[in-house]
């Protein structure tokens, strides 16, 4: 653990400074149009070459990534607050700390590519285009939720976003199936199939790897390794913690998941690999969650507070991007503060709606059992309680 942290710290600092040669003054005069940064080279498995070791970040991209990551961060923190206030019930798995993953992935693919993940899905749900308002309102179980309050934290869906899946690892073969559909239709779309370090030990993941490789499915398998499967550290659960090699016959990349640019470049590389018909690829994103496994887990019984603090203070993905943008003269501190304020307001507004919106009408209880079905009767808690089900 300490070795990983030391290595991580040593690579963060020099990469903040942009390469001087490529700095260009923009029309505004004060800010550069773009800057180039060194990013940590990915460790490669069964690959001759990998993603580039530098990334160009434009001012526009930087501002967008910054805002998006802040939105995810604040949204998750708001969810934490709402959960403690008992507006959110049941399971709530937060991804703060892992913002570079969802934002970086989205930056590396097309909106018409397909994404599926586990229950730690709020961030990806947002980056895939579902509004914060409808996410928070789904968490509070109101009718304005993105799935009308029927799904909750673990079952949010959107266009080209297949959830939100509650059963550990089950999304992995599903994601391979989505890739099969892409190949079948011949549309050059790909499937990003995310799973965690805990899920990596599921048998169905190996089955998905086998079939995806056999049939050369355009599937990017992405292991979000946040070092703990619930309360179990990776080395207590996996005989091999080199998750990017666990695809065995599938090439793999180990990616710095705290660096949005590293994630973006690796995703582009992986997407290219799949689109060119080479079959699946595995990406391991080394990342960290600040919260425990879920809101029921304080997250300190199996890791030290110091470790969490160190990750926050030295590896925070938003801080890393901010430092780069300032060093590269892509934005000013005040400008970023303004974005922070905008984000805060947007989240507050969304939370306000989420806590005041009405619960779904009782009639909703029986709808959406079947699609394209004539209406039928559904039984309630006793034979006299009957609900009408509409598709």
């Amino acid at each position: 653990m300490r070795k990983m942290l030391a290595a991580a710290v040593s690579r963060v600092l020099p990469r903040v400074a942009p390469k001087p040669a490529s700095r260009m003054l923009g029309a505004a005069g004060t800010f550069a149009d773009n800057a180039t940064f060194d990013i940590k080279p990915c460790e490669l498995y069964r690959l001759e070459e990998g993603p580039p070791a530098t990334a160009v970040l434009t001012r526009e991209e930087g501002l967008k990534y910054y805002k998006t990551m802040q939105m995810v961060r604040r949204m998750e923190l708001k969810a934490d607050q709402l959960y403690k206030q008992k507006f959110i019930r049941g399971f709530c798995h937060l991804c703060d700390g892992q913002e570079a993953c969802c934002v970086g992935l989205e930056a590396g693919i097309n909106p018409t590519d397909h994404v599926i993940t586990s229950y730690r899905a709020h961030g990806l749900c947002y980056t895939r285009g579902v509004s914060v308002r409808s996410i928070l309102t789904e968490l509070t179980g109101r009718r304005g939720g993105c799935v009308k309050g029927k799904g909750g934290s673990m079952h949010m869906y959107g266009k080209y976003f297949y959830g939100g899946n509650g059963i550990v690892g089950s999304q992995t073969p599903i994601g391979a199936g989505i890739a099969l559909a892409c190949k079948y239709k011949g549309n050059s779309e790909i499937s990003l199939t995310l799973y965690g370090d805990g899920a990596a030990n599921q048998g169905q993941v190996a089955e998905a790897f086998n079939m995806a490789s056999l049939w050369k499915l355009p599937c990017v398998f992405i292991c979000e390794n946040n070092l703990y499967g619930m309360g179990t550290a990776t080395d207590r659960a996996a005989a091999s913690t080199e998750y990017y090699k666990r695809g065995h016959f599938i090439p793999g990349l180990k990616v710095d998941g705290m660096d949005v640019l590293c994630v973006r470049e690796a995703t582009k590389f992986a997407a290219d690999h799949c689109r060119s018909g080479k079959g699946p690829i595995v990406m391991e994103l080394q990342t960290y969650r600040y919260h425990g496994h879920s809101m029921s887990d304080p997250g300190v019984s199996y890791r030290t507070r110091e470790e969490v603090q160190t990750m926050r203070s030295k590896h925070d993905p938003i801080m890393l991007l901010k430092d780069r943008m300032l060093a590269g003269k892509l934005a000013s501190a005040d400008e970023l503060k303004d974005i922070d304020a905008d984000v805060k307001k947007e989240i507050e507004d969304a939370a306000q709606f989420a806590t005041t919106d009405q619960e779904p009408p009782l009639e909703e209880i029986a709808h959406h059992i079947y699609k394209d079905n004539p209406p039928f009767e559904v039984r309630g808690a006793n034979p006299w309680i009957k609900f009408k089900s509409v598709s």
């Binding site: 059963i167 073969p173 391979a176 199936g177 169905q204 998905a208 079939m211 699609k371 559904v378």
Partner: protein, 359 residues
């Protein structure tokens, strides 16, 4: 000269043939189709009709199907549409679900439904529940099919009936064909349905041939999911069954008819959503009910029918308690004498009917 006479001879033969035919009139032989061929036909027609339909499972392609149900399909449609999978039920069921979510219409074959237990999470949690959880955003137009229930001599791990397990879950449709017509009509409806449908076939029925009515020969022949069929009208007792036992019930009915007992035999065809109305209407006419199934008694299809009859208008028309005929409450044994007594036989059905009628 020879050519001209040949030209003339043919039509003459045809004319005389016609004349001959008028004098020796026989009914055309009814078309006999096995259940296997009916399912094959149904899948073939749907594969042809919609290019989003495809079949995957173990041995479905190059082997022509473990039970030859998919015979000829790989030759006709190729690797893209007929896919041999490794022995990875959980994996390929999940893959099939993903493909359905992304817009294709997969038919996922389980070599037998016993192996579906490996994949049951994908069937229930990923397929059945998704349309509901997503409030209608994400549908899963998938068919899971394969042989279900007892076969012959395959012992405990290969003989379980899953009608009750799958029939339990909202979001799924579950169908259970008996004859060839059922098989074709239901597989076609299942494939065209935009919901996850489980089709429970029966290995012992695959080779059985049935008369195929003309309407069943149409490429658009569909049997509605959720509707039972009265196979035999009767007045004294309602006998409800699904799958292979329907045949046993009809045999029992024939035997009993000689004794003046007329059984109304209902072929459920669909386990979920169950057509309780047809059963109720029948019970209100006959005042007696026996259910017959191959599965175990506890929490089974018959148990559900009895509960629903009790809760509905037909209860007041019962002159005797409803009775279930089921598989024996044991894991399926191997030895023939034990196996024979572990599945409902015609004599067991007759006995139950007579007991119910107090004869």
């Amino acid at each position: 000269m020879a050519v001209v006479s040949a030209l003339v001879r043919r039509p003459l033969e045809q004319v005389s043939g016609l004349l001959r035919r008028r004098f020796h009139r026989t009914a055309p032989a009814a078309l006999q189709v096995t259940v296997r061929d009916a399912i094959n036909q149904g899948m073939d027609e749907e594969l042809e009709r919609d290019e989003k339909v495809f079949l995957l499972g173990e041995e479905v392609a190059q082997y022509d199907g473990a039970y030859k149900v998919s015979r000829g399909l790989w030759k006709k449609y190729g690797d893209k549409r007929i896919i041999d999978t490794p022995i990875s039920e959980m994996g390929f069921a999940g893959i099939a679900v993903g493909a359905a979510m992304a817009g294709l219409r997969p038919i996922c074959e389980f070599m037998t439904f016993n192996f579906s237990m490996q994949a049951i999470d994908q069937v229930i949690n990923s397929a059945a529940k998704t349309y509901y959880m997503s409030a209608g955003l994400q549908s899963v137009p998938i068919v899971f099919r394969g042989p279900n229930g007892a076969s012959a001599g395959v012992a405990a791990q290969h003989s379980q009936c899953f009608a009750a397990w799958y029939g339990h879950c909202p979001g799924l449709k579950v169908v259970s064909p008996w004859n060839a017509e059922d098989a074709k009509g239901l597989i076609k409806s299942a494939i065209r349905d935009n919901n996850p449908v489980v089709m429970l076939e029966n290995e012992l029925m695959y080779g059985v041939a049935f008369e195929f009515p003309p309407e069943a020969q149409s490429k658009d022949f569909l049997i509605p999911i959720g509707k039972a069929k009265i196979e035999r009208q009767g007045t004294h007792i309602t006998v409800v069954a699904h799958s292979r036992p329907v045949g046993h019930c009809l045999e029992a009915a024939t035997v009993l008819s000689k004794e003046g007992i007329e059984c109304e035999v209902i072929n459920l065809r669909t386990i979920r959503p169950m057509d309780v109305e047809t059963i109720e209407a029948s019970v209100m006419k006959t005042n007696h009910l026996v259910t017959v199934e191959g599965g175990w008694p506890q929490f089974g299809v018959g148990a559900e029918i009895c509960a629903r009859i009790m809760e509905g208008p037909a209860f007041n028309f019962l002159d005797a308690p409803a009775v279930r005929v089921t598989g024996a409450d044991v894991p399926m044994p191997y030895a023939k004498i034990l196996e024979d007594n572990s599945v409902p036989q015609v004599k067991d059905i007759i006995f139950a009917i007579k007991k119910t009628l107090n004869i």
